[in-house]
């Protein structure tokens, strides 16, 4: 049963998004505010390969 008070939207002919969709997010409106230079500098100092090196055991 569907929630009775809720408007039912029709199924579109094509799904809006599919698993594996490579479109990804587009840039949001970033007119304001902007990241301060200090924060961008902090980001530039990050080892760009650190995620490749980051290995962990599975947990729960």
């Amino acid at each position: 049963m569907i929630y009775a008070d809720r408007k039912q939207a029709p199924m579109p002919s094509e799904p809006q998004r599919k698993l594996g969709d490579e479109g990804g997010p587009s840039k949001p409106d970033i007119g304001r505010p902007t990241a301060p230079n200090e924060l961008l500098k902090r980001m530039k100092n990050v080892d760009p390969d650190q995620a490749k090196k980051y290995r962990q055991r599975s947990g729960q």
Partner: protein, 501 residues
């Protein structure tokens, strides 16, 4: 009373008391960590050492007698829980110490617990009636873990870094779990029907965000860190074949009266506003269940729905329903808020949550600058897009490095703290609880009294019981209200006499 006026009042009152409390809840968080010169093959032993170096005072004990993670809410028990195959490879040839030694439990003076769980340092908050208390204790957990990391770093003379996230970008995941005290008398299917839509939908307001995917095809950015790792709608497993709805039946209380809803599908949040919202929305669903006012959503494929929402950072997200219809996470969340308007809710924090939920859902697309400062995944995406703009391109592996850095528990280098310290976030200013303060009103007060005042008289303890060396066992009823003044008692006899019955 008109709702606007009511909300104005509750925003001044803030936390629930003995009369207005609703659902008891707790959070346990597994942390990722790295040690300079070490790797994942030594992580199981390193995590044990990590916890053992904690400078926090606490009792090195925990009682597992009443715990059984193999029992399923649906009325059966599995013979074993499936281990992760990759971890089994890491453990090949390793001699494991006895379970209690490996866990290295610390029962902390606040009523919290710090231990090693499957190679991750894990901090479990004391159970809390109030969302504010719970978030403060969850934030204190970060301090506990950092204290242990610092001590271990000094001992080993190696750099130790801690990450509060749930994915290593190589197929491993670890959890942040929530626990909710739930009456046993609910029919299981009613409980699942009340909770699953919220678990699927809440990620748009609570997800931690993730660059890329580990199992479901390429994507630039996801809302949820955990979505890739769910393969079944419901089961009792947590290490493999992870479900959206976990059916573990381990109440840590009188099992004839209580269940503990064990939620494993949430992300670790850096933003305390997300932590508060994450727990608050499940509490809302449970309150509605208690009053038989849960909106009816039948979602035939919760796993796919969870994953589709996670992959739709730009759109509204989509949840397929029966009969070729569909809905959105926003509609689901608003339906719970609408149902709450017709329910009797005294908990002021839940009433505040309704207003915040509606405001954020409206702002997500109409006014993003009033949305992303409140929500981890959106704040992370905003920051990554700023960086991509400054660099002129989005490079996936470098963005994963920045994603990881968002979760680094380091005020000087971590990107979440960079955002927070720059004043760009909202609702993120939370003071961690103090080491000796259990949450207001909860049974953790009684546990804390035993640990703080009578440590030499404790044989062992757990969430629901304290066994004394005298042979006496004291059971702590989680549904009762415990007064803070218990912390001042001077004898066990006085404490036992003053415990609520």
């Amino acid at each position: 009373m008109h709702r606007v006026a009511l909300l104005l009042l509750v925003s001044l009152s803030s936390t629930p008391d003995k009369q207005t409390r609703s659902i008891l809840a707790g959070i346990d968080t597994e942390y990722g960590f790295t040690i300079e010169g070490r790797d994942v093959t030594t992580q199981a032993d390193d995590s044990m050492a990590f916890v053992r170096h904690s400078p926090d005072e606490g009792l090195p004990m925990w009682d597992y007698q009443s715990e059984n993670p193999r029992r399923d809410m649906r009325g059966f028990q599995v013979s074993h829980l499936t281990a992760d195959a990759q971890d089994a490879e890491f453990d090949r040839g390793r001699s494991r110490p006895p379970a209690a030694e490996e866990r290295s439990d610390r029962a902390l003076p606040s009523g919290a617990r710090f231990y090693n769980d499957h190679g991750h340092p894990e901090y479990a908050t004391p159970e809390s009636w109030s969302l504010a208390d719970l978030v403060a204790h969850e934030q204190f957990g970060d301090q506990v873990v950092l204290g242990a990391a610092k001590a271990l770093s000094q001992k080993m003379n190696r750099k130790v870094q801690v990450y509060k996230n749930n994915t290593d970008f190589h197929g491993a995941s670890w959890g942040t779990h929530e626990s909710y005290l739930t009456p046993r008398n609910h029919v299981f299917s009613d409980l699942a029907s009340a909770i699953i839509p919220i678990l699927i939908a809440r990620q748009v307001l609570t997800g931690a965000g993730k660059v890329g995917s580990e199992s479901k095809g390429p994507v630039k950015f996801q809302i949820s860190q955990r979505a890739d790792f769910f393969v079944e709608s419901m089961n009792v497993e947590t290490l493999s074949r992870r479900p959206v709805f976990n059916t573990r039946d381990e109440p840590h209380a009188d099992s004839s009266r209580w269940r503990r809803l064990h939620v494993i599908s949430g992300d670790s949040n850096m933003h305390p506003g997300c932590t508060r919202r994450k727990v608050g929305l499940v509490k809302l669903a449970l309150i509605l269940l208690n009053q038989d006012r849960v909106p009816k959503w039948e979602i035939p494929d919760p796993v796919t729905s969870f994953q589709l929402i996670s992959r739709d950072a730009i759109g509204e997200g989509r949840v397929d329903l029966e009969a070729r219809s569909w809905t959105t996470p926003r509609q689901i969340l608003e339906s719970y808020c609408d149902a709450a308007d017709r329910a009797e809710i005294a908990d002021p924090e839940i009433l505040e949550l309704l207003s915040e939920t509606r405001t954020l859902l409206e702002a997500r697309h109409s006014n993003p600058d009033n949305y992303w400062p409140h929500v981890d995944w959106a704040a992370k995406l905003w920051l990554l897009n700023q960086f991509a703009d400054s660099e002129g391109h989005w490079e996936q592996s470098a963005m994963q490095a920045l994603d990881l850095q968002y979760h680094l528990l380091d005020q000087e280098e971590g990107l979440y703290y960079g955002l927070s310290n720059a004043g760009l976030l909202r609702g993120a200013d939370v003071q961690p609880s103090s080491p000796l303060s259990p949450p207001n009103g909860s049974r953790a007060i009684a546990r804390a009294v035993f640990i703080q005042n009578f440590p030499d008289q404790i044989e062992t303890l757990s969430w629901g019981q304290v066994r004394l060396k005298s042979g006496k066992t004291i059971t702590l009823d989680p549904s009762l209200w415990y007064e803070q003044s218990l912390l001042d008692v001077e004898s066990i006899e006085e404490l036992v006499q003053r415990l609520p019955q």
